[in-house]
């Protein structure tokens, strides 16, 4: 029987002050919201990658597939296709989603499978002790780049808009109610939902001050307006000191991938008979 607070007894090993705590509780609260809406708890499945973020799979007392680095999205896609009644959530790190498994992220958006991808984007590799990621700022000094990186970050929001994602949002662990609200919307969106969560890494990249100073919550933005979403996405390039918008940037309902596969009802003909009938056509 899962515990009432949906937290397992596993010992939590995140660093003190880690942004993952906020994300865990924001996601937990969003899941509780879904359950309150009538989604059976046992119909929810969490898929995680590998990295600090992924420990959330141990800590949340729900179905989980603790997979491997970069591969949350194909696992989640398989689960959703196997049983479209399940609500499937991916928690991935920025190393997972933007480096090791970038292809899966783009194809997830392109397919529009009804899954939710939450990227714990702390813009650094934490568990491997402080190397740069695809969203670290230019010049980031990590242990693999002691002289500072010579490549600029890419912008995952723009990338997701270009890839056809029907739900593109950004939030931060600095704003827990906002984060919980965005995740709740993402879970309810029918189609591929993408949430980039700017999260601080207390040990290797603590930029709380930057997110507090430059971050603002969207208002008066029309999430149905693709061009406006693209402009908002380009406001901050994950490198500069520009204002950082938090909220739902783009939302579009479109047919989901799994609709194209018919649900099979049990056949009255045995497989063996079906196979024999097929063989007759080859005679």
């Amino acid at each position: 029987m899962p515990s009432k607070d949906l937290i397992t007894t596993a010992q939590n090993t995140w660093c003190p002050g880690c942004g993952n705590f906020t994300l865990q509780f924001a996601l937990r609260n969003a899941i509780k919201g879904l359950v309150a809406d009538g989604v059976p708890l046992e119909n929810i499945v969490l898929v995680t990658g590998i990295g600090c973020h992924a420990k959330i799979g141990d800590y949340l007392d729900i179905n989980s597939f603790y997979s491997i680095h970069g591969r949350t999205i194909p696992v989640a896609t398989g689960i959703k296709l196997a049983n479209p009644d399940l609500t499937v959530i991916c928690c991935a790190g920025d190393g997972d989603a933007y480096a090791e498994g970038l292809d899966h992220l783009i194809f997830g958006a392109k397919r529009n499978t009804d899954i939710t991808v939450i990227v714990h984007n702390n813009r650094v590799y934490g568990l491997t002790t402080g190397q740069y990621t695809p969203t670290s700022p230019l010049g980031f000094r990590g242990r693999s780049t002691p002289q500072g990186t010579s490549e600029a970050p890419f912008n995952p929001i723009s990338l997701m808009l270009a890839s056809g994602a029907g739900f593109v949002a950004r939030s931060t662990t600095r704003k827990m109610p906002h984060l919980s609200g965005i995740i709740g919307q993402a879970l309810r969106h029918r189609g591929f939902s993408f949430v980039d969560v700017l999260q601080i890494c207390a040990s290797y990249f603590n930029v709380s001050e930057l997110y507090d100073r430059q971050g603002y919550e969207l208002s008066g933005h029309d999430p149905a307006d693709f061009q406006a979403a693209c402009r908002k996405a380009e406001e901050w390039d994950y490198n500069s000191d520009a204002p950082i918008a938090f909220g739902l940037l783009y939302k579009e309902e479109k047919p989901v991938f799994e609709e194209h596969f018919s649900r099979h009802s049990p056949s009255s003909v045995s497989r063996e008979e079906q196979i024999r009938a097929f063989l007759e056509t080859k005679r």
Binding site: E42, N63, S64, Y66, R71, H104, E280, R283
Partner: protein, 550 residues
């Protein structure tokens, strides 16, 4: 014995594979056993493609180095096969494209007169072949009606014109009344998986298993099956594990290069105990190698693929009937023992077409998958059990959190680094290996054929089985064929080679991978006959190579 070989050649895009198959069907209707080898380079249009359709009055599965009839749709089809042409070869050719000795057929003019597309040239060709071979036209009509889905009447008219445009040269007698289903190995693997309960198939195209993807995608409407072609083989493997986690029996298909990408997910299957079946069609390596040719160089690869130690099932069927039966068994055992399984085949078996013996479709019953006992209390995915297999449940399961994990984990599936739990789980996986061995021990993992009491035996695996059987019969040798490679059936193999003084390994690899495996298990293998050019052994070649060593 009746033994006829027909070489059909043309350029890629001429439909040579279909033409060879239609000829196989003509023989089939005449009561022959058939086998068709398809040889093609890796290009879409042009080049030189050919098929060798062989027919005999006993079961065959290898080509001969002879050519009783040559059907040429291109000049290369004659020029590149001069070594096979004798005074007795009946040559038919498309007179619009080819110059040579023999009977020309004005394929282009016939098609033009009927306003028919180029693809119908095949009907013209098989009509002409039937006449030259003394096959009655009603046999042609039967084949066209059964095997050509569209525009049958027009195809019949064209076949008749082909039939009337040549004269009978060398008559083929009727061999019997038996008419078998003709299928390629990929189709039989697909049907075997469906028999085993396949719910989903995930694959990225790669020769020689692309046609398995095409076949299953084609029948997904009539069988309860979902077929997905994702972005790459990494996604293929992980998506398959997602399907299996949610309770769907799933297989993937690829060749060596794709399996390289799948190995991280293969090891994840081992750790998470989420079952999956991999159809691994070997082709000539290393790397891109010869994409459309064959080889048996990946036995050690599949036995060792993936980091860490975990039980796996590896089977290597060698005939169309074994492809069907063992594909079903592999899927059932993967699920029963919650292990990844590999069906190791090659281009020869995957893309060769065979007369299928539908009386040999009996799949051994592997029994039920373990179910949780009702009094077990809270569900734990990795509950410690006597045989190491924990009952597998799928979401949604009321009042349970089903947790699977790539990390070392405890019984509930939660990550652990505790020494005692790591040890317990390692031992659990080892007990699963024993449970799997117990299952395979009850099956015929090693087959023997040929002369009992013979002191010389050919040791082979996979698609070389059928050429070995045929050649061994000529020499009065025994044939020993391991089908299961993991868990290794050491006891059954020892029994199979008892009394053999000279064990000769026949393998399409340089290093003698099966031979080395036997040595590792203390079973001495004398000589090793290798085939290294990407082409399967012909009967003549193996016969000659055998004379050198025996």
């Amino acid at each position: 014995m009746n033994d006829i070989s027909v070489l059909t050649g043309g350029r890629a895009g001429d439909g040579i594979n279909s033409a060879g198959l239609l000829i196989a069907h003509l023989f089939n209707q005449m009561g022959y056993q058939t086998y068709m080898y398809f040889d093609y380079p890796s290009l879409i249009k042009g080049g030189h493609n050919f098929t060798i359709t062989r027919a005999a009055d006993k079961k065959i599965g290898a080509h001969r180095e002879r050519c009783d009839y040559l059907l040429a749709l291109s000049q290369d089809s004659i020029d590149l096969h001069r070594d096979l042409i004798t005074d007795d070869t009946v040559i038919l050719f498309d007179s619009g494209r080819v110059h040579g000795d023999g009977q020309g057929i004005a394929v282009g003019e016939i098609l033009k007169a009927e306003q028919a597309p180029a693809v119908m040239g095949n009907s013209c060709l098989i009509g002409a072949f039937a006449r030259a071979a003394g096959i009655p036209f009603d046999v042609v009509e039967t084949v066209i009606r059964r095997q050509i889905p569209k525009e049958r009447e027009k195809n019949l008219v064209i076949a008749r014109k082909g039939y009337d445009s040549v004269s009978e040269k060398r008559s083929i007698p009727r061999a019997g009344d038996t008419c078998c289903p003709l299928l390629n190995g990929n189709e039989l693997i697909g049907l075997g998986l469906l028999h085993g309960g396949l719910d989903a198939y995930v694959a990225y195209p790669m020769t020689p298993t692309s046609n398995l993807l095409h076949f299953l995608a084609g029948v997904a409407g009539s069988f309860p099956l979902t077929v997905i072609h994702p972005e790459n083989e990494i996604a293929v493997m992980l998506m398959a594990l997602g399907f299996s986690f949610a309770g769907k029996k799933t297989a993937v298909g690829t060749s060596g290069g794709g399996f390289c990408l799948m190995t991280e997910g293969f090891s994840l299957a081992g750790s998470s105990e989420v079952p999956v079946v991999v159809v691994m069609g070997q082709r000539t390596g290393p790397s891109t190698g010869l994409p459309t040719y064959t080889g048996q160089t990946d036995l050690r690869f599949v036995l060792h693929a993936g980091q860490g130690e975990f039980p796996r099932l590896v089977v290597a069927p060698g005939s169309p009937e074994q492809a069907y039966v063992w594909s079903s068994v592999a899927l059932s055992l993967a699920w029963k023992c919650q292990v990844p399984a590999v069906i190791l085949v090659d281009k020869t078996l995957c893309e060769g077409t065979y007369s299928f013996d539908d009386t040999a479709m009996t799949v051994p019953d592997t029994g039920d998958e373990p179910a949780p006992s009702p009094e077990a209390g809270q569900y734990r995915r990795y509950a410690i059990t006597e045989n190491g297999i924990s009952p597998m449940q799928f979401p949604p399961m009321k009042d349970a959190a089903i947790k699977v994990n790539s990390y070392a984990h405890d019984e509930a599936g939660i990550t652990t680094e505790k020494a005692d739990m790591v040890l317990l789980m390692t031992e659990k996986r080892q007990r699963k290996a024993q449970a799997l061995k117990y299952e395979t021990d009850s099956l015929e993992c090693v087959k023997t054929y040929g002369t009992s009491g013979a002191r010389t035996a050919l040791l082979c695996w996979g698609s070389t089985l059928l050429v070995c059987k045929e050649v061994a019969e000529r020499h009065g040798f025994r044939v020993v064929q391991p089908i299961v490679f993991s868990p290794f059936p050491e006891e059954q193999l020892r029994e199979a080679v008892a009394g053999i003084r000279n064990l000769i390994a026949v393998e399409e690899n340089a290093e003698g991978q099966l031979r080395l495996l036997c040595h590792q298990h203390g079973i001495p293998v004398g000589s090793h006959i290798a085939k290294l050019d990407g082409r399967p052994f012909s009967v003549e070649e193996l016969d000659a190579r055998l004379r050198e060593v025996s």
